[in-house]
C-alpha cells in the first residue's frame, strides 16, 4: 500500500522535471489544487479587472474602497453574497432550481484539467484536449436551461432559450476554427499545440481564425455584444433573475469562469500559450489570458447588443461559412507544404482573412426584421 507513496517520493526529483510521468498520483492532487486555486484566483482577478477597467473606460473610478486599489472588493462581495438569504420562488421546481448552479459551475472548473501552464505542466495531457474542453465546456448550458426553466419566471425562460440557441449555434464556428488549428498541428493535445507555436503564434498564421474564435467565443460565454441571454435592459438578468445568495454566486463564478476558460483556450490556441521569451512560462500564459479578457472588456464597453435573429444569422451565415472556408484553405496549405508553412503565409493568410470578411459581409443581410401579425 505504501509502495506507491514511496515510489512517489523516490520519483519526486524526476517528477518535478518538465515531463512528468502522468501516473504519479500526487501529480493529480497538486494540479487539481493548482487548477482550482488558479481558477478561483483568476476569477477574482477577472471580476476586479472587469469592474476597474470598465469603470475607467466609462469615466468612473470603480471599486476602490476595500484593500489596496479595491483589490479585495470581489472577496467582500463574495462574503456579502454568501450571507444573503437564499430565496426560492414558491412556484419554482425546487430540485432543479437547486441543482442548476452546481451544473453550471462544475464543468467550467473541469476544463482546466487540460490547460498547460508550462511545457508539460498540465493536470492531464489528454490527446483529445481540445475536444474535451469543448465538450465539457458546453455542458453548463444544461444547467442554464435548468435554471431558466425551473425559476418559473418569464424573463428566465426567455434568457435560457436564448442561451441554448446561441450556444448550439456558436459551437459550430468555434469547433471549426479549432479544427483549423488541429489541421495545422496534427494534434489535439493542448500541450502539443503550444509547442507547435514555437516559431510563431497562430494568431499570425491564422488571423481569420483568431477573429472567428474571438467572436464566437464572446457569444458562447455570452459576453457583450452577444450578452442577450442576460441582457439587463431587456430581460432583467436572464436565467438567473430569481437566484440570490450562494446560488447566485455560483452563477456569477460560473459566468466569469467561462470567461477564464475561453480566454485561456484562445490564449493557448492562438497566442502561443506559455510560449514567450525571458519571463517564466506561466507568467506569459496569465498575461495572455488577461490580454484576451481585456479585449472582451473593451468590446463590452463599446458595443451595443445585437438582436436575437441577428445573433443567429451571424453564427450561421457569417462565422460558419467563413470558418469552413478557412478550414479548407488551411487544409490546402498544409497539403501543399507538409513540412510547415513558410513565413510568407502570414501576409497571405492575413490578406485572405480581410478579403473574406469584407466580401462575406456584403453577402448576408442582418436579421429578418419585422414579422407581419394577422
Amino acid at each position: 500500500m505504501f509502495t506507491g507513496i514511496e515510489n512517489a517520493f523516490v520519483n519526486l526529483p524526476q517528477a518535478l522535471k518538465a515531463d512528468w510521468p502522468g501516473n504519479v498520483w500526487w501529480h493529480w492532487v497538486i494540479f487539481t489544487l493548482i487548477a482550482i486555486v488558479f481558477f478561483l484566483g483568476s476569477v477574482i482577478m477577472f471580476i476586479f479587472m472587469e469592474r476597474r477597467v470598465l469603470a475607467k473606460m466609462q469615466a468612473r473610478i470603480g471599486p476602490n474602497r476595500i484593500g489596496p486599489f479595491g483589490l479585495l472588493q470581489a472577496i467582500a462581495d463574495a462574503v456579502k453574497v454568501l450571507t444573503k438569504e437564499n430565496i426560492t420562488p414558491s412556484n419554482a421546481d425546487k430540485i432543479v432550481f437547486w441543482l442548476a448552479p452546481a451544473i453550471v459551475f462544475a464543468p467550467v472548473l473541469m476544463v482546466f484539467a487540460v490547460v498547460p501552464f508550462a511545457n508539460g505542466a498540465v493536470l492531464a495531457d489528454l490527446n483529445i484536449g481540445i475536444l474535451y474542453a469543448i465538450a465539457i465546456g458546453s455542458l453548463s448550458t444544461i444547467g442554464v436551461f435548468m435554471a431558466g426553466w425551473s425559476s418559473s419566471n418569464k424573463y428566465s425562460t426567455l434568457g435560457a432559450m436564448r442561451m441554448v440557441a446561441a450556444v448550439i449555434s456558436y459551437e459550430m464556428p468555434i469547433v471549426l476554427t479549432f479544427a483549423t488549428i488541429i489541421v495545422l498541428t496534427g494534434s489535439m493535445s493542448l500541450n502539443d499545440i503550444v509547442i507547435a507555436q514555437g516559431k510563431y503564434w497562430f494568431i499570425f498564421s491564422q488571423p481569420l481564425g483568431f477573429f472567428l474564435a474571438f467572436v464566437a467565443g464572446c457569444a458562447e460565454i455570452n459576453r457583450s455584444p452577444f450578452d442577450l441571454m442576460e441582457a439587463d435592459s431587456e430581460i432583467v438578468a436572464g436565467f438567473h433573475t430569481e437566484y440570490s445568495g450562494m446560488k447566485f454566486a455560483m452563477f456569477y463564478l460560473g459566468e466569469y469562469g467561462e470567461a477564464v476558460v475561453m480566454s485561456t483556450i484562445i490564449a493557448t490556441l492562438f497566442l502561443g500559450g506559455w510560449q514567450g521569451p525571458f519571463l517564466p512560462p506561466f507568467v506569459w500564459l496569465i498575461g495572455k489570458i488577461f490580454f484576451v479578457f481585456f479585449l472582451m472588456i473593451w468590446t463590452r464597453t463599446t458595443l451595443p447588443r445585437v438582436r436575437i435573429d441577428q445573433l443567429m444569422k451571424l453564427a450561421w451565415k457569417f462565422l460558419f461559412p467563413l470558418a469552413l472556408i478557412n478550414l479548407f484553405a488551411t487544409g490546402l496549405e498544409v497539403l501543399t507544404f507538409p513540412n510547415g508553412l513558410p513565413w510568407y503565409f502570414i501576409p497571405v493568410n492575413f490578406g485572405i482573412g480581410v478579403v473574406l470578411v469584407l466580401l462575406w459581409s456584403r453577402l448576408y443581410k442582418v436579421g429578418w426584421g419585422r414579422i407581419e401579425i394577422q
Binding site: Q58, A59, R162, S224, S233, R307, V366, I371, I373
Partner: protein
C-alpha cells in the same frame, strides 16, 4: 403531431430596468416576437392638474418642475408663458435672454439623458449613458449656480426669472460651450457609425409621417418622421425668432432617426446658446409682479418646444388667485399613442429600443 403553442404574456414593468420609470407594458409574445402590446399608465399619477387648482399661480411653478423632471426649466418656461399671456405681464429683455439660455441648456441636458438611455437600452453597457451624464453634470453645475438646485429648479417666474444671473455665469457658459463641442464629437465617434447600432435601430419601430401627425406626436419623434415642425420656428415664442438655427429632420421615422434628430438638435442648441450669450443685454431681470397674481377671467393656451415635444398649458382663470383649470398637454403621453403599432411584429428587444427612442419621462406621462 403538431406541437401546441400558445402566446406568452409578459408584464414588462412597472419595475423594469429600461421602462424609464414606472411604465408597464403588457406584452404578448410568440416566442421572441411581439404580437400585441398594451401600455398601462398611471403608476406615477400625482394629480398635478388637480393640485394646481388649489394653489396660487406662483405656487404652481414648483409643481411644473415635477412634470418632466429631466427638463424642469422648460416646464417652468411654458407655465410662465401661459400665466403671462393670461395676466398680460410684460417680460424684460434680459429675462427673455436668460430664459432662452436656460431652455436651451435644459434641452441639451434632457437630450443627453434621452440619447444616453436610448443607447443604454440598445445594450451599450452604460458607456454612452455615463459619458452623457458626465456632460450633463457640467450643465447642471450652471443650473445650480443660478437657481441653487440641481434637478427641480423653480427658476422662472411670471414676468421674468427669480434671480439675476451671477457674474460668473457667462464665463462658465463660454467654457462649457467650448468643451461641449469636443464631447459632441466624441459621442459621434462612439456610436454614430456603429454597425451593430445601425443593424439594431435602422428601420426598426417606424412611425410614418402621416401616422405621427395623426397621433399628435411632437418634438423629436415628429421631426424624425420627416415633418419639419418645431414650435420655436412655426410659432416663435419668447425671442426665438431672433436666433438662427435649423430644424433637423429624419427621413423614415425609425429609432435611428429619432436618435440622430436628438443629437442634431443638441448641436442646434449649442448654436443658439452661442448667439444668445453674446447678445444678452443689461437691465432688469423681472417685472414686479404681486405675490398673488389675479389674472382677468379668461382662458389661454401657451405652448413651447420642450425637449420631449410640444408642452402646452391650458389655463382657465376665474379671476381668483388660483387657476380654475390648469391642463398640461404632455408630449410624452401623446408620443406613446402609437407605441403598440410601432412595436407589433418586432422582437422584444426592439420593443425596448423603440420605447427608449421615444424617450418619455414618466412624470409627464402620468402627471
Amino acid at each position: 403531431m403538431t406541437l401546441r403553442t400558445e402566446p406568452f404574456i409578459m408584464n414588462m414593468g412597472p419595475v423594469h430596468p429600461s421602462t424609464h420609470g414606472v411604465f408597464r407594458m403588457r406584452v404578448t409574445l410568440d416566442g421572441e416576437v411581439v404580437i400585441d402590446m398594451e401600455p398601462v399608465f398611471g403608476y406615477l399619477h400625482r394629480g398635478i392638474e388637480k393640485l394646481a387648482e388649489e394653489r396660487t399661480y406662483l405656487g404652481v411653478i414648483p409643481l411644473t418642475d415635477r412634470l418632466d423632471y429631466l427638463a424642469s426649466m422648460t416646464n417652468n418656461f411654458g407655465y410662465c408663458l401661459a400665466v403671462e399671456k393670461l395676466a398680460k405681464i410684460p417680460v424684460p429683455e434680459r429675462a427673455e435672454y436668460i430664459r432662452v439660455i436656460m431652455a436651451e441648456l435644459q434641452r441639451l441636458a434632457a437630450h443627453l439623458i434621452s440619447v444616453g438611455s436610448f443607447l443604454n437600452d440598445a445594450g451599450a453597457y452604460f458607456t454612452p449613458f455615463l459619458y452623457m451624464f458626465r456632460e450633463r453634470e457640467r450643465i447642471i453645475d450652471l443650473f445650480e449656480m443660478v437657481s441653487g438646485q440641481r434637478l427641480l429648479y423653480n427658476y422662472m417666474r411670471p414676468g421674468g426669472v427669480s434671480q439675476d444671473l451671477p457674474e460668473e455665469f457667462i464665463p462658465a457658459l463660454q467654457e462649457l460651450l467650448k468643451q461641449m463641442k469636443g464631447y459632441m464629437q466624441e459621442y459621434e465617434n462612439l456610436l454614430k457609425d456603429n454597425e451593430i447600432l445601425g443593424a439594431r435601430a435602422k428601420g426598426v419601430g417606424i412611425l410614418t409621417r402621416d401616422m405621427a401627425i395623426n397621433i399628435g406626436a411632437s418634438g423629436p419623434v415628429l421631426r424624425a418622421s420627416g415633418m419639419k415642425w418645431d414650435i420655436r420656428k412655426v410659432d416663435p415664442y419668447s425671442i426665438y425668432n431672433r436666433f438662427e438655427f435649423d430644424i433637423p429632420t429624419g427621413v423614415q421615422g425609425d429609432c435611428y432617426d429619432r436618435y440622430r434628430v436628438r443629437v442634431e438638435e443638441m448641436k442646434q442648441s449649442l448654436r443658439i446658446l452661442e448667439q444668445a450669450y453674446q447678445k444678452i443685454p443689461a437691465g432688469p431681470y423681472h417685472t414686479e409682479v404681486p405675490q398673488l397674481i389675479r389674472p382677468p377671467v379668461g382662458e389661454t393656451y401657451a405652448h413651447i418646444e420642450a425637449p420631449t415635444g410640444e408642452l402646452g398649458f391650458y389655463l382657465v382663470s376665474d379671476g381668483g388667485i388660483a387657476p380654475y383649470r390648469c391642463h398640461v398637454r404632455a408630449p410624452s403621453l401623446m408620443n406613446l399613442t402609437a407605441l403598440r403599432d410601432m412595436v407589433k411584429g418586432w422582437k422584444i428587444q426592439d420593443t425596448i429600443l423603440t420605447f427608449g427612442s421615444i424617450a418619455i419621462t414618466m412624470g409627464e406621462v402620468d402627471r
